[in-house]
Point group: D2
């Protein structure tokens, strides 16, 4: 049976200390729930922290990479999908995730939120960027949820997953 | 020599009357400037209106289509690029445009703005959505410009194009 | 640490009885070797048979799907990557595989072999199509190997993987 | 109205002298027929030669580029589509062409022929590689034609285009 996949999207180099702490905890909680963690797979920022958290809790981690540069893959990725399609891979990230948690904010993260909404996916925002919450909530009221902590984000994910959980 | 390509991105079915009027005028002005118009190519909303405006001014129009469904292509598209990659084609839209004008707002348009900023492209916003202006300006101050009219958007495009114009 | 991924590529509806038997056995052997099986993920032909064989041996199976139609996913796929990019996903199949085994022949399979060779990947042919062996061997002598049985294909894979095995 | 697009696919660095001569003449003939030339857009091999031939005859040329490296674009390309998706762009090349002429042979070219056949497109082979003719004709008898000269390839294209010509 197909496993439940939860995507954690967030900035690479531009991630804040809070983003990194949240990402690590999200990874742990996703692994403990028995879900597969999906990220953009690189060895920086939110992607790397979430993967490390998931591995600390013995989870399974999936990285969807933008390039063929294997030196840029997070050590904590179990399975690397090499797309070689740059940021167009952001669409694969969201289509392959049952729920998307946006941890932090940046241009790549914003593109993933927007692509997820376009695909009628549920998105949970966990960040300090108030303008992003106003904008995306206004853009797609029913598909956006706001979480203040990783635990809350996982609670909302459970609700979205419903019967599949 | 490679022609200058200006992309006009905007909603399909969700476009407002003002968006459509602006899109048509943008198409006309882009054609009169001698630039190629690039859009998402479908026969609805901002894409269709911009293409019709460009053809009314004898311009050359390029549509980057998401699917193989040729019945969904705008009649005013001269050259149809069939990607069959859904909204991942939004990344091709912005990478292939020298300047991006976002006319109106929606989830697809928001993804194109974010992907353009991620790729260090200049983006001009022409819309009634104040939250989008606050959010994207905050996200990438130096790459976002605000225009109130199509003529102003074309003026800003000329500045961005600089020597190439 | 990143897991070893072996891709099995082959026809869907056009698979022969021998192709299906070989695909099932390849899936079993890949699982027993401790490798992840990667296929195109659909519920037909070589993809479906290889996934079923791998699950019978308690393997981990990864399906790289061409469309968003979840009803077309093989029951034996553990993790579904939804690309929504049609046959352009064939390039992701080969880039994400450490070794590619082409089981059977068809237009999709031929595209995967050619894309793999273009990316300097090793490809093992296991099929009854003599013309394909002559053509691809001629095209890229050092990257193509011929196997007559699934066991032989796995032996060659081990050699290609070398230190990683 | 959408223009007729004819794709010329062939090797880059590996093109033979005959391939280059044929590609240049194909470009000229496509331009004279009033069709748009589509190629992979790079400044080497068959792509470059075909574009130069088309420009010598005042044609319109479209290049579908694999990377963002603008220094690698042929000088004879009018409109550059930047995909940044490596060889996955080969699928866009064939889906966007009304007819595909494969001039010469290599791994990239073989992938384009196979992807074209998978998409039920007509393909004309113009090359010295006898194994490729045997293999692809065997794979998809009704969709493959063999031409010995550029003029013959254009004659066959006209037949395939039928009413659209």
């Amino acid at each position: 049976m197909i496993k439940i996949v939860v995507g954690v999207m967030g900035p690479g180099a531009g991630a804040s200390a809070i983003d990194l702490t949240n990402a690590y905890q999200l990874g742990e909680l996703i692994a403990k729930a028995g879900w597969v963690l999906l990220t953009g797979g690189r060895n920086v920022g939110v992607m790397d922290a979430a993967n490390k958290g998931a591995k600390a809790a013995n989870g399974l981690t999936l990285g969807i990479l933008p390039t063929r540069d294997t030196s840029a893959v997070s050590d904590a990725v179990d399975i690397a999908i090499i797309t070689d399609m740059g940021n167009a891979r952001n669409n694969i990230n969201v289509l392959s995730s049952d729920v998307i948690i946006a941890c932090g904010m940046g241009t790549g993260t914003a593109s993933e939120i927007a692509l997820a909404l376009k695909a009628n996916k549920k998105v949970i925002l966990l960040n300090e960027n108030q303008e992003s919450k106003v904008f995306f909530k206004n853009l797609s009221k029913d598909s956006i949820s706001i979480a203040n902590t990783p635990i809350k984000a996982i609670d909302i994910s459970r609700k979205f997953l419903g019967d599949r959980y």
